[in-house]
Symmetry: C2
Subunit: 213 residues, 2 copies
């Protein structure tokens, strides 16, 4: 049995988040004061801070809510049977999804907060989601390797993380520029991977390495 207190808490956080979404949509992030959100949600300004700490804290929760469907979408669309097309679709899907409900400016604010709020709750929440996406990609790549599409000598953990980081860099570039489209992202990832995959391993690339993130 959930106590009244727990239900009220749930209710308030919902109201605050809904108010924030509405007002951000209507007046923009800069044009929305914490006080406005508080009024709209029927609580005091300090309560908003108590629930979400900062404006970016509200935003990261909008993103998390939005991203609950992303993994399903990836599962549906990332069925390619070669590494190249898989990676491109992975990147494209993430970019498209990111802007399907939220504006780029939301992402910029959150990424900035994650960068500074070292190991804070915002950073943790963001990294957790990132982690899930990276695991997904690595899993797909592992399947490809099992099917013989990727040499058995390749470390799929390393490969997956490398491609994920590349995707991430292009994603940040994407949200930092209002002009760039998800087509552009796919296109650039294509260029990145074509070039990288066309380089034959030099002798020194066979350096022995111990596993690490």
């Amino acid at each position: 049995m959930t106590g009244l207190r727990a239900r009220q808490k749930e209710d308030r956080s919902r109201k605050i988040l809904d108010a924030a979404r509405t007002l951000f949509e209507k007046n923009g992030i800069e044009g929305t004061k914490i006080e406005d959100i508080a009024n709209h949600a029927g609580v005091s300004g300090v309560t908003v801070h108590n629930y979400y700490r900062t404006k970016a804290g509200i935003l990261i929760n909008l993103i998390i809510e939005n991203d609950s469907l992303l993994l399903d979408k990836l599962e549906t669309r990332c069925t390619q049977e070669n590494l190249f097309d898989l990676s491109v679709m992975f990147s494209r899907t993430i970019a498209e999804h990111a802007v399907s409900n939220l504006r780029k400016v939301v992402w910029r604010q959150v990424i900035a907060a994650v960068t500074t709020d070292n190991a804070g709750d915002i950073a943790s929440a963001y990294f957790e989601q990132d982690q899930k996406l990276a695991r997904f990609l690595i899993g797909k790549i592992r399947s490809l390797q099992r099917d013989g599409c990727i040499p058995a000598s390749v470390n799929v953990e390393h490969l997956g993380k490398a491609i994920f980081h590349l995707q991430n860099a292009r994603f940040i570039q994407f949200v930092c520029s209002e002009e760039l489209t998800s087509d552009d992202v796919a296109h650039r990832i294509r260029n990145d991977l074509s070039a990288m995959f066309a380089v034959n391993p030099p002798g020194s690339a066979a350096v022995k390495i111990h596993p690490q993130n």
Copy 2:
């Protein structure tokens, strides 16, 4: 002949930057108020804002000052005759240089500001420096290709940018974690590149692409 006005401006911006560097070092960024910097430099708080706009604006100038020697350092150290070692040294040198005079927190603040201040002066200054570094790497890679170390079919622009973005992702990870060392960066880039270079080009990787960033 430089007028008195120009000299005073030069002098003031120097004093502000020196005061900022000193106080940041002594009391940390959070522990240093704009007013403190102003007092220490002998100007008013508003003048500090007029000169550097924001706290991050001061920081980016500290970074620019610091980075004036980076390209020389890269030129000296990046003499490898294979792509793999070159890329690793490139990444390592940037990471080492970044923390040789400034703390990681400075980089975090600036990267955050660059992310949000879309197309502002802070972002421009940062991207300009990034651009120089990317051009440097591409130049080196082009030399390698001329020497026959890289297949002629590889687009060096694309390859250079891909590796640079990967380096950038690892660099951000580096400054976002107080634990990570430049050895760790080198190590991870090694893992990234070993995996990427070991993947043989799938048929679909030969997609025709037109040049773009």
